[in-house]
Symmetry: D3
Subunit: 334 residues, 6 copies
Amino acid sequence: MLRLKSPGYERFFQSPMLEATFGGGEANVAVSLANYGMDARYVTVLPKNDIGEACIRELRGFGVDVANIVRSEGRMGIYYLETGAVQRASKVIYDRAGSAICDAKVGDIDWAKAFAGASWFHITGITPAISQGAAELSMEAVRAAKAMGLHVSCDLNYRKNLWKYGKTADQVMTELVRYVDTVIANEEDFQKSLLLKAESAHEVEGGELNVAQYQAIAKLAMDTYPNIKRVAITLRESKSANHNGWSACLYNGKDFFLSRKYAITDIVDRVGGGDSFGGGLIYGLNHYPDEQTALEFAVAASCLKHTISGDYNRVSVTEVEGLMKGSGSGRVQR
Amino acid sequence: MLRLKSPGYERFFQSPMLEATFGGGEANVAVSLANYGMDARYVTVLPKNDIGEACIRELRGFGVDVANIVRSEGRMGIYYLETGAVQRASKVIYDRAGSAICDAKVGDIDWAKAFAGASWFHITGITPAISQGAAELSMEAVRAAKAMGLHVSCDLNYRKNLWKYGKTADQVMTELVRYVDTVIANEEDFQKSLLLKAESAHEVEGGELNVAQYQAIAKLAMDTYPNIKRVAITLRESKSANHNGWSACLYNGKDFFLSRKYAITDIVDRVGGGDSFGGGLIYGLNHYPDEQTALEFAVAASCLKHTISGDYNRVSVTEVEGLMKGSGSGRVQR
Amino acid sequence: MLRLKSPGYERFFQSPMLEATFGGGEANVAVSLANYGMDARYVTVLPKNDIGEACIRELRGFGVDVANIVRSEGRMGIYYLETGAVQRASKVIYDRAGSAICDAKVGDIDWAKAFAGASWFHITGITPAISQGAAELSMEAVRAAKAMGLHVSCDLNYRKNLWKYGKTADQVMTELVRYVDTVIANEEDFQKSLLLKAESAHEVEGGELNVAQYQAIAKLAMDTYPNIKRVAITLRESKSANHNGWSACLYNGKDFFLSRKYAITDIVDRVGGGDSFGGGLIYGLNHYPDEQTALEFAVAASCLKHTISGDYNRVSVTEVEGLMKGSGSGRVQR
Amino acid sequence: MLRLKSPGYERFFQSPMLEATFGGGEANVAVSLANYGMDARYVTVLPKNDIGEACIRELRGFGVDVANIVRSEGRMGIYYLETGAVQRASKVIYDRAGSAICDAKVGDIDWAKAFAGASWFHITGITPAISQGAAELSMEAVRAAKAMGLHVSCDLNYRKNLWKYGKTADQVMTELVRYVDTVIANEEDFQKSLLLKAESAHEVEGGELNVAQYQAIAKLAMDTYPNIKRVAITLRESKSANHNGWSACLYNGKDFFLSRKYAITDIVDRVGGGDSFGGGLIYGLNHYPDEQTALEFAVAASCLKHTISGDYNRVSVTEVEGLMKGSGSGRVQR
Amino acid sequence: MLRLKSPGYERFFQSPMLEATFGGGEANVAVSLANYGMDARYVTVLPKNDIGEACIRELRGFGVDVANIVRSEGRMGIYYLETGAVQRASKVIYDRAGSAICDAKVGDIDWAKAFAGASWFHITGITPAISQGAAELSMEAVRAAKAMGLHVSCDLNYRKNLWKYGKTADQVMTELVRYVDTVIANEEDFQKSLLLKAESAHEVEGGELNVAQYQAIAKLAMDTYPNIKRVAITLRESKSANHNGWSACLYNGKDFFLSRKYAITDIVDRVGGGDSFGGGLIYGLNHYPDEQTALEFAVAASCLKHTISGDYNRVSVTEVEGLMKGSGSGRVQR
Amino acid sequence: MLRLKSPGYERFFQSPMLEATFGGGEANVAVSLANYGMDARYVTVLPKNDIGEACIRELRGFGVDVANIVRSEGRMGIYYLETGAVQRASKVIYDRAGSAICDAKVGDIDWAKAFAGASWFHITGITPAISQGAAELSMEAVRAAKAMGLHVSCDLNYRKNLWKYGKTADQVMTELVRYVDTVIANEEDFQKSLLLKAESAHEVEGGELNVAQYQAIAKLAMDTYPNIKRVAITLRESKSANHNGWSACLYNGKDFFLSRKYAITDIVDRVGGGDSFGGGLIYGLNHYPDEQTALEFAVAASCLKHTISGDYNRVSVTEVEGLMKGSGSGRVQR
């Protein structure tokens, strides 16, 4: 997906230019994994033109395996982004109608080939939100992944400005989630995508989070969908567009883990924060013996993402572990 | 339409930014007319979001009347542009699927209101090339214009990368042209849009133009479509992406006028060159007593356009007339 | 007025470029009103050259009625701006000598035409600070406005680096304010422009504000100038160049209203903050039944202004009302 | 003087930024001389603010002696610049009213101190064109220079958009030139500043130059003003805004020298071209034994200036001599 | 190698920024080949830091195989570049002392692994010019390549500002060339690197080239070094820094081929032009049945390179073949 | 030294450009002193090329005396900089191998000439960290300075990524410090450069500082090196990359002074912060009668430095004293 951002904190078209980079849920996770040295393969449908090729060139540069990306006649999906400050929220305008992935349909991707040699498949709730075809393709993907024995993770990622093609999020996601091993979500995602809600709601807009009830909702999800083996919930406290609290918890049906909380007082770019958590969690679960450490890696990785411009989390394992072990005091490295 | 251009002479995505301005055939003509002090009204369908509003804000700034622009749910049409140099041609990638105007349909625009008080309607062959709906809307427009007594001009503007929705250019344009008083075109447009071809073809790719046969093709068009009152043909000699010869001729069924020829040796931005000719011609025909002067104004105006960045021709009547009367030697004004 | 700002937080001429936008007290208010959908007309004198025309084009783009702007031989007034950070204050260098408005004189503007159909006139204390001619023109304006039955508002806006032409602020403003219905000011403005001071002074440079005495000073102003119907006072707590507290109060001679207070922890651009309050207040007083809501709108609008680059407050009624009703937690809109 | 230029070939305010550098006739000559290793002192009046200091800092960086620059209360003079292309001329908008030098008056500069140890004084016809005070100061300067035995050179530099204060160029310059030893000019300068015209006029706007008559006009000037010891005439053939022919001739009352002619086919920045000739000539006359070589140095230096962005001629003696001796074929140096 | 270029046509440090991209002889050839769809592997030594990784990321993005790049403790080699115009030549300042490749030594690269599966090895005369170690490594490379049966091509690429470590170019290159099958060079290269000179020298600095004698020098090279199977000579006519004539010839010991000549009238970036010829030739020789076509591909490819910013030739086979077959008239593609 | 910084908060090479300015320990101090109006002379070895000249031009612009800078064949030393945010630290990559100063050796600088007329010599611990030659040159410098009766100050400035040439910091610095009158350091510097450590270590990474023990370490240094007359210690509390606490203390062997502490909540550029303290201290000790005021000047100056982009502290004495006397509330100056 092409990300077109107005410069700095400008509103759209104060200057006649847009920062033009690439990103998007699954791509961001793939780049995270490649940055951590894992073999990451990105599977999607992109337009057969210079814009699509530029996206592929960038992903390949990070070391992501792009051999299974399908080229089609459609256009490149876009999102326009305006970065907020203090009380003014960042603003995303989706422009995905007619995109290559939007027009994709069941059968366009050879999943047997795409999944060959893989052990893990990650998908987000954004893809099935784009179009009926993308939703069906997503279902085909998770079914194929399960059939081929891959571990499936899904970031529910509810987006209220998508889901325009006639289905609601819950109609699709309650079905898709039946193929998922590891669910990643925030509280709103559970409500909107799975219609799950813990009893005492907390205030989403700000204030301190009531951590206690997150275990309840995780348990509820696992009770409702027994296929789910693990639920990770990101806990964002929005104090302002510049300042968020950031932590996460994880429940595996038995133990409940709560991470360290970071005060991200001077956010550089918040978009892709959730994806960087997903990427960190997949790395962590595959490289550390315990889920607490995996969770801490994911939270530290995504904490750092908030200091990086662009969708991708351009950090190394060394840097993430440095934060996990250190104070995050930001002293110059020289 | 949003125009996304890579900086300078860069290929797409050498730098992570795109120059982002607005433009498009009819909008460019409207801006030209407003710059010349005429009352210009731009009628189209634009998306109901910040991108559409930014486009409207810019047009309003030039003094174009935007009160009849319809807002809809679609997206903003885009074209990506890469500026060529010498032997490397400029490259346009159209990205118009799903745009507001692409999804527009007959009845979306109140033509009686849009044409109220107007005396001239200008349309290009790009709009009917986008979609079946846009083509039908174009037909509705020219019919309404004729019915309300407006003079109709049309720049045939054949674009081979559009016309993807099932109709060929000639299927639509041979019908639409029956409502046109003033036709603007180049030789290729006549062939592809109207299937008209003078006997001895000239070499489109370069070399000196055979002016003689342009009168023949203009006459052929007027014989075939007796409603046409005037044909203006732009004569571009492409020596390289930086250097074009530029002139035009005009036939009114009786007299044939040939303009001065300009050597545009160091082109700054060639896109919008044809539209600036259209805008200049409409101004000229409405302000000068003779068609030779009108034609010279149009050619001088569009000559200057090649020195202006962006789609719009940001020049004044004084500047165009200065070139018409002067040598074009480019001495500093101070 | 042309605003020439060094990039980012740079001091002047660290880079050989200046951000060049337009702004200025009354223009900023006009743009706010146009953004809120009101009919706003901007009346001034601008130079008859490309710089003046560019300013007019921008204002027209926002929908401001520019038909009554007078073109003269003078130059475009300029202010140079350097954005401060933390303990380093932002710095403004005025460069207004010889500007078109500076050289304007009584009779240059046809007030009957300028005020035709209008119900409200807004002026700031910056205009009469520029020159004797501008001061006399300001007096002529408020007299004409009162004579034609317009409501007159004035933002006292004391600027110590102006008032160089031989008059002090109080000499002019104590006269001008006799034609004003709604006064907007901060405490310093009352002292310097009207020589009014409440008994126990508070610490202007920082610390918590003593709200109590603001009612006293408002009452004092209304007692001194019985024509004043309403006093609005902005309450800025400067903690650093990046972090201000922001609220306001309003007294109508009977009731005293105090607004919600916003912590603007990460200011993007503080210049134009007062003007955005003025614009918000005029909108609020004309659209809400009660003055408390009008005040809250004004404060929320100007709070958001601090997050916008440039002089203009590029926000909509929806966005301002969203902040009034919400927590200002800055969660991404997508 | 501050030079505010729109980026690239853009018209004013297509982008919200201006390239901001310093320059101006005499400053440009001083920088040329410093670049060639000569002791150059720049004497003027600049504003006592950060803009003035930035100008001084830049000049000092080049090695120009700035110790005699006077600071005053005025503003920094500005010229806005838009770079033309092909048939569209570059455009300069002067904004000098109220500038420090404009408001300067006789007595502001201590010429005895300013000229101490100097052997040459250079002035241009732009300074006396700004204001009555600047004209009187210019007269005071040339008189003081002559009295102290300095060689005086003057570039007549006629500018039709200045000379607004009540005097015509010839009224002032015919007097000032009586103190000048070396006159630098083009043909138009002779006509407008000294009312001198050779019999058969050539076509100023383009075409080949009639070199023969330049000797006539030089002789006429020396006959009229017997104090003049030498006349240098720059010969610019404007083929387009991008392509000029460039050469010069010099007459010393006895011999007439004509320089090599350069085809400057792809001009980068033409502003300051004349000043770079002046700087080159002063260097040449002071470093080469014969006037032909001095003239060739001046022409080669100013030829190179057309390839440099900004007012200053950022080239070295080695580079100028390299062009004088070489073919100017522009092969990469590596 | 990191390429640090001043913006546009600016001299160094007119602006406080440098365009920072990567490039260098062999890397440029590798990128060309990858762009044409060939399997290209780049073998070098780069620093083990973020600068080295960024270089590798970019190359990987183009599809170049970077698995055999060795990381070491050294620094990233740099060249500073200033783009010339007309008579002012572009300027390169090499900054390669202490670079990773400069400090590399025999044994640092596992050639057996690096050449595994390869059929062609390309090297330039720049690498052995850097240091004694790099020269020895180059010798080791060509010997290993020959031993493993690869075809070896070498672009002699004489650079007078390198060769500072005690050896002259001819001392090293006359030995290295004994392992080369295909030699690429211009006339100066033959003289400086191999001490070969055809009898009647032509004027290197400009003017029309004497093609006849190129066959003589090619034959001389092949007679002197019987291992050489083919000599390709690029023929650059430097008319100015913006305008070059460009063609090439090829001799295989039997037939002599001369290519079409292109007038590159408006050069965008000339650096990397020779490398793009090398890349084009290797592609051509491997994909076309005849050497004339291979030569034409190489010349057309490198002609297009002159229109591309940066070291790399960002063009496709389709584009190169389009130029070979077309007129190069640069008409917009849309 | 050339400083190459990625734009904004970007990681290296997200954009193909680097902000390119100059800086470095001693140069930064020289610029501070020149900005305060003192006579400052910068003595170093720089490359004899355009990069070195650009550095010299900038320093000369500030008024630094550059007449004693030696030009040599080496390269310009570089440091690459990436600005951190919140928990992500800023990152410096040194690239100094083979630089002119790195290759300098005893005898290259004529110290008698360099120190003529001077009363104070300042050096940092960075120079002797670069190479054996630079260390010996540093020793030669301090010895010459002492011999000529200059006061010597030294900022210990330990850099763990330098000291690669075979010596450890303490081996060199324990010798060099014997010639120093005023030592500037932070706690880590004492440990690493002088092997001095107060008994109860505080937490370097964050948290409140234990001021008490700083007197102990200062006393220890003065006891160990009786030549030291004064020790100044900067006290940085790193809360995040954006937010530091900043203060300092000074011990003269008799009295211990502790400065005001500043909360620098929104750091713009932290690099050069220590140097700006050094420059402020030298100014303060030379202009104020008491050491407390000198210390306060140094701390206020360096506090302001954190709000300035680039290495240099672009502030005036007026601005520093303004902060010393004021609240630092950052109210706009206009």
